[in-house]
Symmetry: C2
Subunit: 138 residues, 2 copies
């Protein structure tokens, strides 16, 4: 039994969500969100950022990623109007650049692994490592 807890709409929560929507192309750490909001003159305590993110992840509008490098979690807004869009990450091991890859081919990949290998890939946790174009040409 869920104990549906009431949720108030507050300035801080809206701002955390808006920040993620504004940056939906990237993923942000809790710290970065706090920093961005501060820059915009809309300071929100870090504790509150964490608690707001917790709620947002719970209700599915935001995804939590575990990024390998830092020990900090990253968050990204998920537009659920688009259908379950796959989003893999490529990370260059040379320069550290993170590439956000949205590509239909990758949905096929997920389907293939699911059907042929009985394994459900979780792309929120998966990062493909390699070398980006710029670094390959060095």
């Amino acid at each position: 039994m869920e104990k549906e807890q009431k949720t108030y709409k507050t300035r801080q929560r809206s701002q955390v969500l808006n920040c993620l929507i504004d940056n939906k192309a990237k993923h942000l750490t809790a710290d970065e969100i706090a920093f961005i909001l501060k820059e915009q003159g809309a300071e929100v305590g870090k504790t509150t950022v964490y608690r707001a993110l917790e709620k947002l992840v719970e209700d599915g509008s935001v995804r939590k990623y575990l990024c390998e490098e830092g020990k900090s979690a990253c968050f990204q807004y998920v537009d659920n109007s688009e259908e379950c869009h796959l989003h893999f990450h490529l990370k260059c091991v040379k320069c550290g650049k993170l590439i956000h890859l949205e590509c239909d081919y990758l949905s096929d990949l997920e389907k293939h692994i699911s059907e042929h290998h009985k394994f459900t890939v979780d792309n929120t946790k998966t990062v493909l490592y390699g070398v980006c174009e710029a670094c390959a040409n060095v």
Copy 2:
């Protein structure tokens, strides 16, 4: 170029590696490794465990994984004597099982990413996270 640093062979390093080999079916945190070694009467300082793991990951005999909880990193020995560089690894985030996946489809994936996204995937460093069949049925 690289400044090849000499590496000494020490009791502690051997024991950390052996511990991982003994448990190659599982993944272990730095803390668990320290604990196991202590139980075996071969105490190794936690700092040293971390530093040994760092080296082992660097030279590719051990892989660093992110675990479900996300708090601490997990490590697992990878047997490179087999041609592991030819295939991808799937890791179940529930049970920790490591699956070696050999499949032509995945070479295509590599080709696709290389051609369409100008990125060379290094599958010795890449792990696809997800849930295996057994765990999905729980």
